[in-house]
């Protein structure tokens, strides 16, 4: 009954889930601090897509509003995250997250 090629709620949600999963896999596999951070951003944007879809579906503005908050938060996170990465780069001259392991056990 569902036409696969016409966009509907489910296709948006599928894309969102896919993006989220891709982001998560990227976070687990990549070594470069900035790329890992980008993957996390990807996950956040996947959530945004889902939120907008739901917002539209319920015809309720709360979801869209939450998206703005998420974007704000992501921007703030970028500031904090990039400066941490920068500090590490200054001290170590690389940003391989797996070489940052003074603390273990």
């Amino acid at each position: 009954m569902m036409d696969f090629f016409t966009p509907n709620v489910y296709s948006y949600l599928a894309v969102s889930a896919l993006m989220f999963a891709l982001g998560a896999v990227g976070v687990m596999t990549r070594r470069n601090g900035i790329v890992v951070f980008m993957c996390i951003e990807l996950m956040l944007n996947a959530v945004n897509l889902a939120l907008i879809t739901f917002s539209r579906m319920h015809n309720d503005p709360a979801g869209s509003i939450l998206v703005f908050f998420v974007m704000c938060v992501a921007a703030a996170e970028a500031v904090v995250g990039l400066s941490i990465v920068l500090a590490i780069f200054r001290n170590k001259l690389n940003i391989d997250i797996n070489q940052v392991n003074i603390f273990k056990w």
């Binding site: 998560a24 601090g33 996950m43 956040l44 889902a50 709360a62 509003i65 939450l66 170590k92 940052v100």
Partner: protein, 494 residues
């Protein structure tokens, strides 16, 4: 469907109730301004005054639960004022140790005070949220400040590492939390707690079990991460070890208390979370957390890292308490309050001597009992209290938790908990043994600290830990009173 009519009177009324939050907000901005105008000396005092004032105002504003503000986004009645006051207290106690620590390490970072105030603000927003959006905003406000705390000493690799780990893992976990919120919003069409608790929403959820479970599961994971429950705890030891010590104490107490309250509110106020499966996830996580935390802590050679693992273990006890319905909430708040006192005390005192006994290695603490007897006695007191030895406050906390759990008939988990806590005694004791029972040649100053402020802080905490062990009702009664109004509080919307 849920439209909020805008009214000035409404706004004025609710701003009166959120005054404690506004005080913190204003203080934070003021601190940034003062810093810019070169009044760095006064910052800790201003921050301290703001905490006191805000806590004081909140304490006097007690009301039955259901007094909502910001158009239903925030709870300001019930336990909200008390939780707010407790969170302010954790910030205030951290201040006692913070500036001395920074001075000793020759890092005069004055932004930290504004961040501390904002962190407490975020915690309060999260803990007293009445809407999932607010939970998220509060959590992120708090986390952002904590990331910066972890990475505070930017020229030191250790601090960099702590910051990076906390930041990456923290935002990873928030992504899960957010996705969970999105899914719950997706099936119910609302994020407001009152609406989520309504019967028609519960019906919807029952028809959409699977999606709900995915959403609720992810939401839980996001919160369990913040309280460092197994297996989401991995950041905790690494981050605490690299964070400036007094701030690590703050992280272990304030942020956890806020997250626990948020978690407890979800679990006890929303019927949809009163679900055996969700409860058993929390219960199982709690058991694994306390077993893991206690056992691994016993293998640590570094006091700070040991305290980090011990804080994981303590999260396990509290989570167990949360599984035990209403009386569990009471026990949880009481425990977290006491935990705040003793843990900030332990971390703070550790910070006091960190400069003279570098790296907080246990080995370097040999003979501390002879070198600095008063210091060692006070530190041991905190350790004994953390271990739950009566009659110190820590025992009362554990007692409340376990009694609440047993009242629910969860005998076996309680037994596991007690067994785990007995392992705990062993590693706290090890520090005491090294301090007192092993030799070191010289005897020197009575106390290793020159500054009086951290000493005063430690003294206050020692007294509190002793007094609350004997008169727990001083804190228990207000909590009980605040909670007693909670049951009839499936609130009315404005």
């Amino acid at each position: 469907m849920n439209s909020f009519p805008f009214s000035i009177a409404e706004l004025a009324l609710s701003s009166q109730y959120v005054l404690p939050l506004l005080i913190l907000l204003g203080a934070g901005l003021l601190l940034m301004l003062l810093d810019a105008f070169g009044a760095a000396k006064f910052l800790p005092w201003v921050a301290g005054a703001a905490f006191l004032l805000s806590a004081g105002v909140a304490w006097t504003q007690g009301a039955p639960a259901g007094r909502l503000a910001f158009f239903g986004m925030m709870e300001t009645g019930g336990i909200a004022p008390i939780v707010h006051a407790f969170l302010c207290l954790s910030g205030l106690l951290t201040l006692f140790f913070l500036s001395d620590y920074l001075d000793r390490h020759d890092r005069h970072i004055s932004d930290v005070y504004a961040l501390l105030v904002f962190a407490v603000l975020g915690m309060s927003l999260m803990a007293n949220a009445h809407d999932l959006i607010m939970t998220f905003i509060g959590l992120e406000t708090m986390s952002m400040c904590l990331y910066i705390f972890a990475a505070l000493f930017k020229t030191e690799l250790k601090s960099n590492e702590a910051g990076l780990k906390y930041f990456l893992l923290g935002s990873f976990a928030s992504a899960f939390l957010l996705y969970g919120i999105a899914l719950i919003y997706g099936i119910t069409g609302t994020t407001n707690f009152s609406l989520l608790a309504s019967p028609e929403r519960i019906e919807i959820i029952q028809s959409q079990q699977t999606v709900f479970y995915v959403g609720a599961g992810m939401l839980l994971v996001g919160l369990l991460f913040k309280v460092s429950a197994f297996p989401f705890h991995f950041w905790t030891p690494d981050v605490y070890e690299g964070t400036p010590t007094p701030l690590a104490g703050f992280m272990a107490t304030g942020s956890k208390m806020a997250t626990f309250v948020a978690l407890g509110t979800l679990m006890h106020q929303l019927d949809m979370f009163q679900n055996t499966k969700l409860l058993s996830v929390v219960g199982l996580a709690s058991l694994l957390t306390m077993i893991y935390g206690n056992i691994v802590a016993s293998r640590q050679q570094n006091i700070k890292r040991m305290l980090a693992y011990s804080s994981i273990a303590h999260s396990g006890y509290v989570l167990l308490g949360l599984c035990a319905s209403q009386s569990g909430m009471e026990a949880m708040l009481f425990y977290m309050f006491i935990y705040t006192l003793m843990n900030i005390g332990a971390f703070g005192m550790l910070g006091m001597v960190e400069h003279d006994y570098p790296d907080t290695e246990l080995e370097n603490w040999r003979g501390m009992g002879q070198k600095a007897p008063l210091f060692a006695v006070a530190f041991s007191l905190f350790l004994f209290s953390l271990a739950g030895i009566p009659p110190l406050a820590g025992f009362m906390g554990k007692y409340e938790i376990f009694i609440a759990v047993i009242r629910e008939g969860l005998l076996l988990p309680a037994i596991v908990g007690i067994l785990a806590s007995i392992v705990g005694v062993y590693y706290y004791l090890r520090v005491i043994v090294v301090m007192f029972f092993s030799k070191s040649g010289e005897t020197s100053a009575l106390l290793p600290s020159a500054s009086r402020i951290p000493l005063a802080g430690a003294a206050i905490l020692v007294v509190l830990v002793l007094v609350l062990g004997i008169f727990p009702s001083l804190i228990l009664n207000p909590i009980t009173q605040a909670l007693s109004g909670l049951s009839q509080a499936t609130a009315v919307l404005p």
